[in-house]
């Protein structure tokens, strides 16, 4: 049991990295990785939303959608749940914890269209995970996202100071950096327990 739980988190974060291996959340991965500080804040917000979204959608799917036989509605229901959840989280943080809101708040609306969140909830359903497994998988995946985006941001802060051939400036060099990171992360697929 314990081993399975660790495997879910490590698997989500390293072996099956959501950005570098499954290409989910590329928009924000490339868009908000210019500075380390911003990317760490986005990572924090994603960890929060993804874990809560996994929990809520798992309960909803297993106890409402599946028993009623309307599991084909999952895409519509999940995207609405995520959008609503992000709104609620934003309002809650604004009222209860202004400090965290200051750090994360501005990134929360962006997360609604982050395909990694919808992706992980749909993967949980596809893999027939129970409640605890879903939450752990969501947490692990979000951890992987944060790791990838913080690493890319720190690489980009260094790239900015280098003399890069003109055609490669901007997006291409960032994509090449991402490719090298992806190669490095492929090494984790050899991990076994």
């Amino acid at each position: 049991m314990m081993k399975n739980m660790i495997l879910l988190i490590v698997g989500g974060a390293l072996i099956n990295n959501v950005v570098l291996n499954q290409f989910l959340g590329i928009c924000s991965f490339l868009g908000v990785s210019r500075e380390m500080k911003a990317s760490a804040s986005l990572g924090g917000a994603v960890i929060f939303v993804m874990t809560v979204a996994s929990a809520v959608t798992s309960l909803l799917y297993n106890y409402v959608l599946a028993p009623l036989g309307i599991d084909y509605m999952k895409t519509i229901v999940f995207i609405l749940i995520i959008a609503a959840l992000v709104q609620i989280v934003e309002m809650f943080l604004k009222k209860k914890s202004p400090a965290i809101y200051q750090a994360l708040g501005i990134f929360l609306p962006l997360i609604t269209t982050n395909c990694a969140v919808l992706g992980v909830t749909l993967t949980n359903v596809q893999n027939e995970y129970g409640f605890l497994e879903s939450v752990l998988a969501g947490f692990g995946t979000a951890l992987g996202f944060t790791l990838a985006i913080v690493l890319l941001a720190s690489i980009r802060e260094r790239i900015n100071e280098k003399d890069i051939p003109a055609p490669l400036r901007g997006a291409p060099i960032v994509l090449i950096a991402a490719a090298l990171m992806s190669i490095a992360f492929m090494g984790f697929s050899g991990l076994s327990f």
Binding site: G31, E35, Q126, R156, G170, A171, P172
Partner: protein, 239 residues
């Protein structure tokens, strides 16, 4: 030029969603392992895009402005569910190849972006043509990426052997890193021959990064950028 033809030209060449606007990068990177997958994904997205443009254009005077984004998301999600069920029923091999990326068409920036930027201001016919043009442009870009990756990584093209058996394929190109490399190559070539991608123009105007250009959430994105304490924002070749 006829304004309907102009929409097609705009979508395929002038504002190609993937290569020029840099929207919808997730599916572009993920499903371009084979040329056939690229075509399948491109056509599925095209179908959703045309239908969502038509429906949103028809409802553009009915949907109140404040709730338009949730309304668009519901419309797109319904259309995607229909498409997913149809693919599952009639093209099971494509369904298993594309997997989770079919339901994820919902969060493809191209679709919400076109709804927001075009369909909610224009007539039904023009919106349909806009969807068709953008869809073909997306399909072309995906297929090109898929062909290059399949050729280098597998030695085949649309499943047919191109290189002789003795040629050792470069396996990395069908692995995840190959996707990043191929797209980086495309953009670098376009930079080298002087085609300006939208993302570069945007840096000059308002500083939003790639990916969210024209996306429905772009205004939030810019707000996020501006609110940041920008101690490292200045200087350096930026994205």
């Amino acid at each position: 030029m006829n304004k309907y033809i102009e929409r097609l030209y705009n979508g395929i060449i002038k504002e190609n969603p993937t290569l020029i606007l840099m929207l919808g990068m997730c599916p572009t990177l993920a499903v371009s392992t084979r040329a056939m997958n690229g075509i399948g994904m491109g056509l599925s997205t095209t179908a959703v895009l045309i239908l969502s443009n038509i429906v949103i254009s028809m409802l553009r005077k009915i949907i109140p402005d404040q709730v338009r984004l949730p309304a668009y998301i519901v419309i797109v999600a319904s259309l995607v569910t229909v498409t997913e069920l149809l693919i599952e029923a009639y093209l099971p091999s494509l369904y298993s190849a594309l997997g989770i990326y079919i339901p994820l068409i919902v969060v493809n920036c191209i679709i919400l972006g076109r709804a927001e930027a075009y369909a909610n201001k224009n007539t039904v016919m023009l919106s349909a043509m806009d969807g068709l043009g953008m869809g073909i442009g997306f399909t072309v870009a995906l297929t090109l990426a898929g062909m290059l990756r399949e050729l280098l990584g597998n030695g085949t093209l649309f499943g047919l052997q191109v290189f002789p058996e003795s040629w050792e394929p470069v396996g990395i190109f069908v692995q995840p890193p190959g996707a990043f490399l191929v797209i980086a190559l495309f953009i670098a070539i376009m930079n080298a021959i002087g085609i300006k991608t939208r993302q570069r123009q945007l840096v000059e105007s308002d500083g939003c990064d790639m990916g969210c250009a024209g996306c429905a959430m772009a205004s939030e994105c810019r707000k996020a950028e501006k609110k940041l304490p920008s101690d490292t924002a200045e200087g350096g070749p930026e994205l």
